[in-house]
């Protein structure tokens, strides 16, 4: 065991791999470039480049007679964006996104709270899977499931009938705005499906935030005589807020951009996503479609900036 190597510097490993390794070790910046190069080329050039090109197009306009794009800088498209009909679409979408986010938080909170505070061991794993599977199962299948449920001849009508409260459903559908011919062509239907599809995204961030609240904090509050409601308002809610905000990034953003759900379950009035889709497709007005996409980008930018200031990213 006492025989030691001849020399302090060991010989180089033979072959290109050895030489390349030495080269990378001496020039770590080259290695970094090699590592980051392909993904940055892909995302930076292909993705950001496309995004940038799209935004650029919002400053062009469409020639009304020929239907061709007029490549001259103009704000005309933005003037068009802020026309009353389009503002209506934006307002409708944003209110829907806000409402969906709010209700998602309400539905998600008890699940997240139970999972964070009471579920242990096997149950915790089960809870996790019970959230993960619906979260990851097919978006279209989920929408399809609701088409089955909300259909006039579907399970929901059958259920109301069995309970002898069909008049309740009819009364609701008779209401202006939220009502309609059937649930599957009403805002109510759109709203339910949105909540169903995006709500699971809310659970895990809230759970993560709640898990960081030490259990004894809750006990301390009730020991000090706080009622459950007070404990919730003054202790739990403020601590869970970053998680709610983090989750709402998903629910809000996803609702803002969706065009499939309102198309399949909903009335004929458009949401931003549908407007973008229609403008770039049938209408062929790419500049206006581009201008429309600026709306969610700006809203999400502001939202993310606010969320960052609230420390929501730590809960992601």
């Amino acid at each position: 065991m006492t025989v030691v190597a001849e020399s302090f510097v060991l010989p180089e490993r033979r072959g290109t791999a050895g030489r390349l390794s030495d080269f990378f070790w001496r020039h770590p910046h080259v290695l970094l470039t090699v590592l980051l190069g392909p993904p940055l080329l892909w995302l930076g050039i292909v993705y950001l480049g496309s995004l940038f090109a799209l935004l650029l197009q919002s400053f062009f306009s469409i020639d009304e007679f020929s239907g061709l794009i007029n490549y001259e800088f103009t704000l005309a498209t933005y003037r068009q964006l802020f026309s009353e009909a389009n503002l209506d679409i934006i307002l409708r979408t944003v209110s829907m996104a806000a409402l969906v986010t709010l209700v998602s938080a309400l539905v998600a909170f008890p699940i997240a709270y139970y999972a964070a505070r009471y579920a242990r061991g096997k149950w915790k794993a089960l809870f996790y899977l019970a959230v993960m599977l619906p979260l990851w199962s097919s978006y279209l299948v989920k929408v399809y499931a609701w088409k089955l449920i909300l259909a006039k001849e579907g399970i929901l009508t059958w259920f109301f009938e069995k309970l002898n409260v069909l008049w309740l459903l009819d009364a609701w559908l008779a209401l202006p705005v939220v009502g309609g011919n059937s649930l599957s062509v009403s805002y109510t239907g759109t709203f339910i499906v949105f909540v169903y599809v995006w709500m699971p995204f809310m659970i895990l961030p809230i759970q993560a935030a709640l898990e960081r609240v030490p259990a004894n904090l809750v006990e301390a509050s009730s020991d000090l005589g706080g009622t459950p409601a007070q404990t919730f308002r003054h202790v739990l809610f403020p601590l869970a807020l970053p998680g709610i905000v983090a989750g709402s990034i998903f629910t809000f953003s996803l609702t803002l951009g969706d065009y499939i759900i309102p198309q399949i379950v909903g009335s004929s009035r458009l949401f931003i996503g549908q407007a973008v889709y229609a403008q770039q497709g049938t209408a062929g007005n790419i500049p206006l479609a581009a201008a429309f996409t600026v709306v969610p980008i700006v809203i999400m930018g502001a939202y993310l900036w606010m969320a960052k200031r609230m420390g929501a990213f730590d809960a992601l």
Partner: protein, 271 residues
Amino acid sequence: MRSEKINRVPLGLKIAAAAGLAFMHLPILLIFLYAFTTEEKTYQFPPPGLTTQWFAVAWNRPDVWAALTLSVKVAAIATAAALVLGTLCAAAVSQTRFFGRETVSLLIILPIALPGIITGIALRSAFSIADIPFSFWTIVLGHATFCIVVVYNNAVARFRRISGSLVEASMDLGADGFQTFRYVILPNIGTALLAGGMLAFALSFDEVIVTTFTAGQQSTLPIWMLEELIRPRQRPVTNVVAMIVVIVTFLPILGAYYLTRDGDQIAGAGK
């Protein structure tokens, strides 16, 4: 051990949590029921009768098979690209120190932080500007873009868990960069990459919004489903396909979960 007090669950909470979970799962279960219905024209509930004949009908539909094959091909190639790019990025961000690391993380998350329609329309208009005709590869390109983040998230979480001194220990014992990657890094991040790859596959397999903008004439399984949703042709076949899609996406999710469950960070928390 926690105190007794903490283990007594308030009844209201129990009910709310149970109702929430039921809300999440019942509609999916309903899909399973409808796959067996005898009713052809409507979504009638309860089903007038049960049958397994639609499985055979779906099995013999060439359009379903074509869509399924295309989806699997796209998902496989997009996942492979995402695995390479996501791992490279994760390695760079966690193994080296450089200026602008935050920016790189933000750039990777952007394709899923922004609504899918924006990614889709941006890519579509870029293709038309660059005169690239729609093809199999334009679909793959779009999918890989948003799959990178899934692989990246899993790999970064695992990189964070392997202590930096393992890499140094390996070099100290005479292994150069490539050997260290081959014998130390890869075995330690392998399961995380596998999990990330499975999630990326599931994500791509299911994607519809970006795909409608990058697909041209071809139809992946979700596009096929979407057309059935908008203009139903043969409802029972759609029911069967929906059930199969549910099962096919569950498998990689369960797999990813089992591969990463002993870590504190579990795959797929952010889709």
